[in-house]
Amino acid sequence: MRGYLLRRLPSAVLVLLVASFLIFTILRLVPGDPATTLAGPDADAATVAAIRDRLGLDAPLLTQYVHWIGSLVTGDLGPSYAIGGQTADLIRDGLGATLELTLAALLFVILLGAAFGVLGATSRSRWIRSAVRVTTTASLAVPPFISGVLFVLLFAVVLGVLPPGGRVAFLTAPDLAVQYLLMPALCLALPSAAVLGRYLKDGIENALAEEYIRTATAAGVAPRRLLWRHAVPNALPPVVTLLGMQTGHLLGGAVLVEAIFAWPGLGRLAEQGLVSRDYPVVQDLLLLLVAVFVLVQLVTDLVYAWLDPRIRWE
């Protein structure tokens, strides 16, 4: 395994290097620069030049690139140009908020998906099955930016029971944090929960139709035991794979939901950084995303290699 890991590492580092170069170059090709943004609409040339000089934007591009990579290697990401504060702090805070939202949504996906799946597959009531079908179809069809607005209107404006937006960090005040989290997390989770529920429902139905269930039933095994000990576990493996894929969707979708619910996560940070051409923030953020994907790919490959030794020797 160690040998396999060592063989995979150089390609991962190469991917990161190429990505960093592309991110750096493409960002410089976008018109507009931080100096003019910071200078404001009424600035004169001297002001723009002074700011450009302060930010080090006068240096050759290659020097700027090497300086950036050097700062990454030393772990000092430096200050943000426009937003203010240290880039590392900004990313850390945003990452915390986005992860919190994604994890809460994942919890909803699992709970709702399980409820949709089990009720849809096993309920004897036609009404319940229809209700589950309609709910999952609606959850899939209505995008988060619509359901978000509807939720806010109902729960925050009309009923006034939940805050319409903002965030209290979970570790600061868990009781308040949960209330701020409920709507954005639910909104983010609904489409994925519907997908998961449908897979689970099909899985359970197929499992229940298997011959061994018939035999077990004939042998007098209780229906509840049949469902939870045999049918559900057999339906789970493909659902777990799907859950992994949906987690990626959740991370991506969080950007949109963050805007609706004024959630200060990475999506908001990226937007803010791009609008003001805050190079350090955007560069580091994009490279972080690439690094996450590279890491996930690496871990997946390692798990596969662990499961299937043949891969290690290919």
Binding site: D33, D42, G84, G160, A173, A222, R225, L226
Partner: protein
């Protein structure tokens, strides 16, 4: 063929479902009964009601952009915190008369080349240090640095000498007389010199203002608490202020309607109709004229170098429709840049151009054109795109085909400063709300020496310099200069003003005593919640 086994497990039974639901409700009830409500926590009004000023309560202000420390010394998209944490030397009243703040009184030298300021001696910074004349010297010198990007740098740069007469009297010596020194005082926040570098990175914001910075969370906003040692006795009434960043308009409106925030200046004009019908909220217009919508013309592009063609564009635009349809009626349709509170405002200038497509076509014909085509740059934001589309429609009616160029704000800014705009563009400008001369020396689109339109004329330069450096002019003399500036702007039409916009405040019915200064710095000295 497979089919579901007839005696398949039935899932949760009715009894177990009811049991689970009951248990769940109990748990939820117990849990929520024991914890605070985020909704009531956020709307922390002081108890009781009444019209008298009341102490206490935290005011939440919804803002659509975060505080940008790098722009602390310039006017930016979000300057609400400036007058909360800091003070200014003076503040204008509604008639542009300076009133005391950290400066108690002032005297001009006869030749207009010096101003003596007497300063308050009972003011301390949030870190406990006494405020003295040295802090004013620092503030002026600080704004003279190009790196601070202060829009009033040219006025600050006119101060070339300082003479301290004790700790609380200071003479500012001027290279030449300037008549917009009090614009600088309205604009220039007094910051603690020792923490100035930490201030531009957002680490420390230390002023003498009514509120002290508790925390700035980038992306979330600023949290402020009352300054217990504020120099104004008994003020502020509020315990604290939260400036909460809510960039999305729908979310911002929901926040106001649900009582989560009690004040905002960022509700888009088209949404104000819905707000007005909500009796828990009130809408107030400020005639600060802090922003204006205009159509910019690149005077080096043929045939826009011909004044007649520019006049045709100015007659072609339906300002009233633009105001009603895209700005919700909040503003003043005007061909000149001045708000009604400006000494340069006249009704004749405001209506100098009105909607007359026939006249526009006639002017184009007289200049030898029946069909023209130009690109029009605009910001790729919903409200700005609507303005551009409205202009496109009006110009199309007189035979001027316009191709829209949606552009992101950073790129538009670069083109504005580098004179890289296409034939036409539409953006907003400020600086008409204070002394008229400030517009031409501080707002880039109007700058006499270098502007985006690439317009230059000796007459314009002369009149702008004269208006700026005329210190002791009588009202009649000043009016004559303003009249000449307005006449040139209207006649040359290199910037075609469309609508003068003030600030529109949406606030909870129980909030009183909120004011803004001419640069939209929020003043909550006398604000209270009932």
């Amino acid at each position: 063929m497979t089919e579901l086994y007839p005696s398949m497990p039935t899932g949760p039974s009715r009894r177990s479902t009811l049991r689970a639901a009951g248990g769940g409700t109990l748990l939820l009830g117990l849990g929520l009964a024991g914890c605070r409500s985020a909704v009531s926590e956020a709307s922390s009004d002081p108890s009781g009601a009444g019209a008298e000023p009341k102490r206490g309560g935290t005011l939440t202000v919804a803002v659509n952009a975060d505080f940008t420390p790098g722009l602390l010394y310039s006017q930016s998209q979000q300057s609400s915190q400036h007058r909360l944490i800091f003070n200014t030397l003076t503040r204008y009243d509604d008639q542009l008369r300076p009133k005391p703040e950290l400066a108690i009184s002032w005297t001009y030298a006869d030749d207009g080349r010096a101003l003596t300021l007497r300063l308050r001696d009972d003011v301390t910074f949030h870190n406990g240090r006494k405020f003295t004349a040295d802090d004013v010297v620092f503030a002026v010198k600080n704004l003279q640095k190009p790196v601070r990007a202060a829009q009033l740098r040219s006025t600050a740069a006119a101060v070339t000498g300082f003479e301290k007469r004790g700790d609380h009297e200071l003479v500012l010596k001027l290279a030449h007389p300037v008549n917009n020194l009090f614009d600088l005082f309205e604009f220039m926040i007094i910051t603690d010199p020792e923490s100035a570098e930490d201030a531009v990175t957002g680490r420390k914001l230390i002023g003498t203002g009514p509120f002290v910075l508790k925390k700035w969370s980038p992306g979330s906003g600023l949290s402020l608490r009352r300054n217990e040692n504020y120099w104004q006795p008994g003020r502020p009434y509020l315990d604290g202020v939260e400036l909460r960043v809510i960039p999305q308009a729908d979310a911002l409106i929901s926040s106001l309607r649900s009582g989560q925030s009690q004040l905002s200046f960022n509700v888009p004009g088209k949404n104000l109709g819905a707000i007005k019908s909500d009796e828990r909220l009130s809408v107030t217009d400020y005639d600060t004229g802090a922003g204006a919508v205009y159509l910019g013309v690149n005077t080096t592009v043929t045939p826009l170098d011909d004044k007649t063609v520019r006049h045709a564009l100015a007659w072609a635009v339906d300002r009233e429709r633009l105001l009603a349809q895209t700005l919700g009626g909040h503003g003043l349709a005007s061909a000149a840049p001045w708000p009604t509170s400006s000494p340069a405002f006249t009704e004749a200038h405001r209506t100098h151009y009105s909607h007359d497509p026939g006249k526009a076509r006639e002017l184009l014909r007289s200049a030898g054109h029946t069909k023209l085509a130009f690109p029009l740059l605009h910001l790729a934001l919903p409200g700005e795109t609507a303005i551009a589309e409205s202009l496109q429609y009006d110009l199309e009616q007189v035979g001027v085909h316009v191709t829209l160029q949606p552009t992101d704000p950073a790129t538009a800014q670069k083109k504005l400063i580098s004179q890289g705009m296409p034939a036409l563009w539409t953006l907003g400008h400020g600086f008409a709300q204070v002394q008229p001369s400030t517009l031409a020396v501080s707002a880039y689109p109007f700058n006499e020496a270098k502007n985006t339109s690439r317009y230059r004329s000796d007459e314009y330069t002369d009149v702008v310099r004269e208006a700026w450096t005329e210190p002791e002019s009588t009202a009649a003399a000043a009016n004559a200069l303003h009249e000449r500036i307005s006449r040139i702007l209207l006649d040359e039409a290199f910037i075609i003003d469309l609508v003068v916009r003030g600030q529109v405040q949406v606030s909870a019915a129980g909030l009183h005593g909120v004011t803004l200064n001419k640069f939209s710095y929020l003043n909550l000295d006398d604000a209270y919640l009932v």
